[in-house]
Assembly symmetry: D2
Homo-oligomer: 307 residues x 4
C-alpha cells in the first residue's frame, strides 16, 4: 500500500465534512484557531511514513497527553496507579463529577479529566510541577524525535484561567484523599501537559511505540512492557472518547485518544500510528473531520482490530 496515496484518498473523502462541527470555545486560546484546517500523518512500523494537509502545523494536543502521562506512570511505578483510578468506560462526558460522588472519589478511568488529574498527581510524586512538566516535555521530545516539542504557554494560561471545572474535580478528589499533592500544584502541571503543541507528524511518531508492543522503533528503547502497552491500547479503545467511545470503536475500530484541540492519535497494533487534526468537534469533543478520516482510513486499509 502506498501511504501517500492512502492519505490523499482519505483527505479527498473527508473534504466535504470540513465545515461541520464546532471548535471548543471554553478555552479562549483554542477558540481562536482557524477552524477549517486539516492535517494527517502516518508512521508505520516498517518505516514508511506519510503526511498530508496541515500536518506540519503544531496544535494543542490537550487530552491526548493523558495517554503519554499514563505510559510514564506505568513505566516508573507499575500498576500501583490502578488503586487510585479504574479502567471502565464512564458513560459520561469528559468533565463529569457525578460518578466521583457515587464512587468515593475514584475516577472511572485515566482518560477522563478526573482520572488524568490523578495520573498527573501520581507522576508528580515528590517533584515540583515545573520538574514534572519538564519530564513530560522531554518524554514527548524523545518519542517524537523532535527537540522543538514544547508547551504553548498562552494556551496553558488560558486553560488555567478557565479551569473551574477541573479545579472542582481536583478538590472533589482531594476531599476523598485521592490527591496527594496540593490541587494548584497538580493543576499547574496538568494544564501545561494539555498545552503541549505537536504537529501531526510529530504525534504519529510519538505514538508509534504503542503500536509496537511498547518498544520505540526509532530509538529501539523498550519504553513500557508489552503488557502495559496492550493495556493502554485497551483503555484507549474503551474510554478514549468519553461518551463517544463506543461509537468510535464501532465506526473506526482502532484504539484512539482525542483532544478538544481537534487532534486524535490512533494506534493500529503491529502496524502503525496515525495522527489527525482538524479543530471542529462533535458533541463528545472529538474532531468531526478527524474521526471521519480515521473511519475512511480503516475502511480503505482493512486494519480494524475487529477483523
Amino acid at each position: 500500500m502506498d501511504m501517500d496515496q492512502l492519505l490523499a484518498e482519505v483527505a479527498d473523502d473527508v473534504r466535504p465534512s470540513l465545515g461541520t462541527g464546532r471548535v471548543a470555545d471554553y478555552i479562549p486560546a483554542l477558540a481562536r484557531v482557524p477552524p477549517n484546517q486539516f492535517g494527517m500523518a502516518i508512521a508505520c512500523l516498517d518505516g514508511q511514513h506519510a503526511a498530508i494537509g496541515d500536518a506540519q502545523t503544531p496544535f494543542s494536543i490537550q487530552s491526548i497527553s493523558k495517554v503519554f502521562t499514563l505510559a510514564m506512570v506505568l513505566k516508573a511505578q507499575g500498576p500501583r496507579v490502578w488503586d487510585r483510578v479504574g479502567r471502565e468506560p464512564s458513560g459520561t462526558p469528559f468533565n463529569s463529577i457525578v460518578q466521583l460522588e457515587h464512587e468515593a472519589g475514584i475516577p472511572r478511568n485515566p482518560l477522563i479529566n478526573a482520572g488524568a488529574i490523578v495520573v498527573t498527581d501520581h507522576l508528580i510524586g515528590n517533584r515540583t510541577a515545573d520538574q514534572t512538566v519538564d519530564n513530560v516535555t522531554a518524554f514527548m521530545q524523545a518519542r517524537s524525535g523532535s527537540a522543538d516539542v514544547s508547551v504553548d504557554r498562552e494556551v496553558a494560561q488560558s486553560e488555567s484561567d478557565t479551569g473551574s471545572r477541573n479545579r472542582s474535580l481536583a478538590h472533589f478528589m482531594a476531599a476523598f484523599s485521592n490527591l496527594k499533592n496540593p490541587v494548584e500544584q497538580v493543576l499547574s502541571a496538568y494544564f501545561r501537559q494539555c498545552a503541549l503543541a505537536l504537529t501531526c507528524e510529530q504525534l504519529a511518531q510519538a505514538g508509534l511505540f504503542l503500536a509496537n508492543g511498547g518498544r520505540d522503533p526509532r530509538t529501539d528503547e523498550q519504553v513500557i512492557t508489552a503488557e502495559q502497552c496492550r493495556r493502554i491500547n485497551a483503555v484507549m479503545l474503551t474510554c478514549g472518547h468519553y461518551d463517544g467511545s463506543g461509537d468510535f470503536a464501532f465506526r473506526v475500530g482502532f484504539p484512539g485518544k482525542s483532544g478538544v484541540g481537534g487532534g486524535i492519535l490512533a494506534v493500529v497494533p503491529r502496524q502503525a500510528a496515525i495522527a489527525v487534526w482538524s479543530p471542529r468537534l462533535n458533541r463528545s469533543g472529538t474532531s468531526w473531520t478527524g474521526s471521519q478520516a480515521l473511519e475512511r482510513l480503516a475502511a480503505r486499509t482493512g486494519w480494524s482490530v475487529f477483523g
Copy 2:
C-alpha cells in the same frame, strides 16, 4: 501452536481459581447447576479445533444469545435497529434502568438487558414469539452445525417466573414507545433465547463467523457483512461485560460476551472463536474462572487485538 496443548496449559493455569466466585442465584434453575465445572473449546479459521474439561456439557448461554440476535437483526433489517438502541458502554450493571429514564427509553447498547429486549422486539417484527424462538434456534443450529441445540424449557420458565426486573425494563421502554410488540410477547421470546443450551464446542463453532468477517467457514455462507461483523465485535469489546467491560478488555483483549450461566464467547478476529464455561461469577456477572482462562489464553498466544 498445538491447540490441545494450549487448552491443557490454560486449564492447569486456572484450576486453583475454580472455587472462587458465586453462582447466579436469582434464577433458581441456574442456581442448581454444580458450580465447579469448567469447560473450554476453541475453533480456528484454519480448521483446527480442540476442547477440554466439561466442553460437551450443555449450559444456558443466557446473555451470549444477545450477540446472535443482534447479528440476525442486522442481517435481516440492516442498520435501522440503531435508531432504537445505542452503542455506547453504559457504565452500569446489566439490569440498570437509570440510564433509560435520562435518555428517553433508548438503551445505551444492545448487550445490556434493555437493549437486547429491544433487539428481540425488532427481530419479532410481525411474527409470534414461538416463530421467533424457532428462528433463533434454527440460526444457532446452523451456526453450530448441531441439530440438537434447543431451549431449556425449565430455565426459560424459571427466568419468566423471576423476571420482574426485565418486565420493568420492558414496560419502561414501552412507555417511551420503544417497544413495538406487547411486553409479554417480547419477553416470552427473550426468556427463551436466553435459555438456549449449548456446549462449549457448539458455541465456539457458532461464533466462528464473527472471527471471519461474517462468513461461516463451515457452510461458506456470508451470514452478515464484514462491516456488520466488525461492528458486532466492537460492541462486544466495549459493552460485552456490563460494568466490567473495561476490565475484560484490559486483561483479556478479545471481543467477548458473557452470560450469567457462566459462559463466555470470545472472538479473535482473523483467528478463532473460543467458548469457555464455569458457573461461578465475578461481581459484574462474568464467569470468574472463564475470564481467567481467556486471560491466560491471550497471554500464551499473544492474540490480543491490542498488540
Copy 3:
C-alpha cells in the same frame, strides 16, 4: 371572614391565568376534559362552607387519592407501612424510577407513584382488587358525605391502557420484593382509586378530618389519630407536588396534594380544607390556576402555616 366573598375575590384574582398551562395528555380520557374550567370549594371547621365556579362538576382526583389510601392504611395497620416506603421528598418527577434503583426498591415517599402503589398493595392485604376499590370508594363516600362518589370506569380503563410507566415501577419494586400481591392486581386497584371522581365540594368535605386532628367533624368519628393526621399533613407539605413541592410550600404554605386531573386538596390545620380544580397543569403536574388560587387565598387569609 365571609367565605363566599373570599372565594369570589380569589376567583377574580386568577381569572387571567385560566388559559395558561397544559392539560395532561398521556391519559386520553383526561385529555378530553374542557381545559378552562375552574372550581373551588372551602369547608371550615366552624361549619362555614362556600363554593364557586365549577365546584359541582366531578373530576378525576388522580393522585389526590394517595392521601386517602395512606390514611386508610395508617388507620388499619399503623406505622408498619413505613418499613416499605420513606417520607422524604424525592427531588424527582412523579414517575421517576431512578431513586428506586439506588435505594433497593423502597420509594422515597407515599405520594409519588411508586410509593402510592406500595400503599395500595399494603391496603389490599389479602383482599381482592375489587374489594379494595369498594373499601376506598366507601371511605371517600363516608368522608365526603356523598353516596354518589364513584370510580369513573372510562378513566380507569384509559389509565390501565396507558399505564406502562406505572407497570414498570410496580415490576421494579416486585423485583426487590417490595410488592406482596401480583402487579396486575395492585395496579387494577391503583388505577381505579386514581379514577375516583369527586366535585370540589365533595373533596373539600372529604379532606376536613385532616384539618381537625384526624376527627371527621361531620360524623364525629376519629378517623385516624392526631399524630397520624399531623404526619400525613407533613408528608403532603414536603412531598405533595413532586419536584414542585418546595415551590408550593414557598408560595402557598399549606399542606396539599395535587392530581394530574387538575385538582388540588389543601389542608389548613385547625381551620379548613380547600379543594380547587382547573385542568391545565404546570411542568410539575400541578394545576396552574389551582395553585395560583391557593396562593391568593393564603395571601388574603393569612392562614399560611409559616406565619
Copy 4:
C-alpha cells in the same frame, strides 16, 4: 404553660439518648467538642423565655447561619437571589454535587452547602470578605441582642483547611458562572459565617423575628417582610435537614435548620423560637438528641404547624 417546666420535662425525656449518634469528625476543631453536652432555650413572642442545660455555652452554629444570610440577602436585594438558587428539596446529602451537574450549576435550595455559598456570594456583592463577615456578625449581634457573638477563628481555620468538598462545589458553580466573586473570597466569608459561635439562649433570641412575621420583637424592627419570613420558614421546613428534612417535618413539625456543630434552630410561627444543642449527629447530620428534644417539645405543646 410554664416554659421552665416544659424544658425540664423535655430534658428528662431525652436524657437516655445522650450517648447516641456521632460527632462530626471531618472538621477537627468540631471533633474535639465534648459530645454529651445538651442545652436548650426557648424565647416566646409573649416575652416568656427559659433555658436548660448547657444553654449558656457557645457552640459553632455552622449551617444554621445559612438561614440568617438568606434573610440578609432577601432584605437587601429582594427576590433576585432566586434566579441563582432554587427552593426545592434536593433529596441528597448536604454536600452533594450530582444535582449541580444535571441542573447547570443552580443549587436546588439555599440551605444545602452549594446554595448557601451562592447566597454568600450574593451577599458579598462588591464588598470584601472581611466586610461581609463583619456585617453578618453585626446582624447576629443585633438579632440576639448580644454584643459578644463572634466568629470562632480556630473553627473557621479548621473548616478552611478541610474544605475540599466546599471548594469543589464553589469551583463547579463558578464553571457555570453562578459565582460572581473569586472562589477563595466567597469561601473565606462562608467558612467564617459557619464558625459563628452562639449560645442556645442567644440563638433562640436571634431566631425570634422568624416566628413573628419578620419583625424583631426586641427591637421592634421589621427585619424582613412578612412574606419573606413565611418563605424562609417554608424553605426551612422542606429543606432544612438535607435528606432528613421529610423525617424532621414528619416527627417534629416545625420549620428548622440544623448544623453539624449539633445545633438546631426551630421556629414556631406566631409563638416562639427554640434553640437546642447536642453535638452527636444522626446520619443526615442533624443533632440526634436535639431533634429528639424538639419532637418531645412538639408533642408536649401541640405546637406542630400540622395540627
